[in-house]
Amino acid sequence: MSGTLRSALGRTFRRAALPLGCYYAVTLGLPIANGAASAGSRFVGHALVVSMLPPMLIAMACTLAVAAEALRLKSYRALRSVRSSWRGTPKSGVPSARQRTGCTRVWRFGSFSGSPWISL
């Protein structure tokens, strides 16, 4: 399991702790308090499904979200590398033609006086 997935799983389980706790309290806690545990293997089977399915759903949703994010990041990087090969975009993400330099040549309206180079 990658570190990203592990941390995402931990985050998601912490975030879903309250709904999960309330769900377990009502679907398992209340029946046990009412004596449903004495029903034996039938209740055990039900309890197994009820207790296993929500964490499985969380893990599945989290894995899908992490995979989708990784795919999005990968496609973004691929697109960026294609664009940089077309336009000469440096790795910083700012196109070289738009990068600020110490001075830039500009056209001055009106009468020309002085140097055509001004500092920006």
């Binding site: 879903a16 309250l18 709904p19 999960l20 309330c22 769900y23 309290a25 009502v26 679907t27 209340l30 039900h46 499904v49 009820v50 399915l53 929500p54 759903l57």
Partner: protein, 186 residues
């Protein structure tokens, strides 16, 4: 009355009071659900049946003592479909999510009221989704070797109820973030 008005001083006592109220309301709902017949659960079954009818296109009529029946779809919404357990879970969860807002008697009452309304609304909506999905599954049975149709129905119920709880929690968190009087987080 003065103590109620100046109840900010009572904040340490209010939150345990809210928790006791939650336990009493949940116990009362559970007791009512256990003792009541289908007709006494009309307050939750009728809006559910109406919404399921709107979503699925089926017509549900009252069958006294049994619930709401759709003759053309051969489907009965009975007591076990009421979703009162979900309502209890949703109510308790919303109260816990909003517990930090309880600073006075008035805010405690408003949190309990909001949680009851949210629990009821969520129960009707989520139950509608669950029953509509169950009707669809009844028309298009899923063949899974290890699972009987009853197991598929149970798994569908667990998934819909749990996802419904998580979505309600996310909604409450979002509202809590943007609601006035609370710290807005980025």
């Amino acid at each position: 009355v003065k103590a109620f008005i100046d109840s900010r001083r009572l904040a340490p006592l209010t939150r345990p009071g809210v928790l006791i109220a939650v336990a009493l309301i949940a116990w009362g709902l559970k007791r009512h659900y256990a003792d009541a017949g289908t007709d006494a659960l009309r307050w939750i079954l009728q809006p559910t049946a109406t919404l399921v009818g709107v979503v699925s296109g089926a017509t549900f009529t009252v069958a006294p003592g049994e619930g709401y029946v759709s003759h053309e779809r051969m489907f009965l919404i009975e007591k076990s479909c009421a979703g009162v357990n979900f309502m209890i879970a949703a109510f308790a969860m919303v109260v816990f999510a909003l517990l930090a807002r309880v600073r006075s008697g008035a805010s405690a009452l408003s949190v309990l009221g909001v949680a009851l309304a949210a629990g009821y609304g969520a129960a009707v909506l989520v139950n509608t989704v669950r029953i509509t999905a169950a009707m669809w599954l009844a028309d298009h049975p899923v063949r899974v070797a290890a699972l009987a149709p009853a197991d598929v129905h149970r798994i569908e119920g667990i998934a819909v109820y749990f996802v419904g709880l998580v979505l309600l929690y996310e909604l409450v968190r979002r509202v809590e973030r943007v609601a006035p009087g609370t710290e807005v987080r980025a």
